[in-house]
Subunit: 197 residues, 2 copies
């Protein structure tokens, strides 16, 4: 029984979920531990699972034409992470997912996912909302990248995701925000100065 998972699913759905349904869902997941730097998904390979983090953290990234990493998404305890495109389409993924710490995750694979959607209507809805949310947050992020400068984006990110700022290395946050680590370091310095006054 994972209280964290239940809470999070209910938050996503915006409604309470009967315990019987939740337990039916829980039966479809299995628990797994990963070392630091474990690879949960790899570019070019089909991503067969969705991961729910109970402990630890991970991030997904893409390699650009110069083989540089660009952080796409972060997951801490209570977050889902996957290459949803590859997972849903069954096509080779474009992203990599790696743990940042030793982690405990619940794994949902494609067959069980389909079983959950087919047999538990509320989970059909849940996963539709999951991809919607992913889509919306991407749209928002792109709009911000195109319209605000790096300092604005970092401030917004900090207030929206203080947990990420606490737990994710700064060079990955920089990458997520679309700036170089050196620039983020300078931005933070400037913010500290101005808030000190």
């Amino acid at each position: 029984m994972s209280a964290l998972l239940k809470t999070r699913v209910e938050q996503t759905l915006g409604q309470a979920i009967p315990l019987t349904e939740f337990n039916a869902f829980l039966d479809l997941l299995y628990s797994k531990s990963f070392d630091k730097k474990s690879v949960l998904a790899e570019e070019g390979k089909v991503c067969k699972n969705i991961y729910f983090f109970q402990k630890g953290s991970a991030y997904s990234y893409i390699l650009d034409t110069k083989a540089e990493k660009h952080a796409i998404q972060f997951a801490l305890a209570g977050y889902w992470i996957s290459d949803l495109y590859s997972f849903f389409s069954g096509r080779p993924g474009k992203y990599n997912i790696e743990t940042l710490e030793p982690s405990e995750v619940l794994v949902l694979n494609k067959q069980q996912f389909e079983a959950a959607c087919d047999t538990i209507p509320v989970f059909n809805r849940f996963f539709r909302i999951l991809i919607q949310n992913a889509y919306v947050s991407l749209q928002f992020r792109l709009a911000r990248t195109n319209s605000e400068d790096a300092e604005f984006r970092y401030r917004e990110f900090s207030s929206l995701h203080p947990d990420f700022v606490q737990n994710i290395p700064q060079y990955l946050i920089a990458s997520y925000l679309g700036v170089k680590p050196q620039s983020l370091s300078r931005i933070r310095k400037a913010l500290l100065k101005s808030s000190a006054k």
Copy 2:
């Protein structure tokens, strides 16, 4: 009967679709004409339709904190456009959609959409793929914005979407690519020069 729609749906699905199923789907859509600059969706209002363009063109955009427009998506004949987030969630939208020319579109509203998903399994799959594609192309776009310079992005955009370059005003393409119109003008000039040699 819209041959264009049938072709496009089959392309998206990657499979042929029986004529009976297609006609059942077509019955759920209705055709409508719009003047230039018609508003198909508006920020703050629930977007109740998905639009398929038979003729004409449109674009969706978001307003940033400085009230500047940022193009999100374009639609020419053969393309779908909507505020999918608002459409699926039933929540107020964050985007605006406006025609660029007098247009003829097929309209699918939420009830008919749900009817299509419930009664025609292949359309359930179709719409799931539609949002997946939207999600994937956004991910790709964000990765590019964060990793490549404006000239690269424009060249890639031109080769990927020559139809957009032909039919969409340059200042909107600039906005879509996350640069100012003046900069795109200079980029094009530089490209013309280098290709002339």
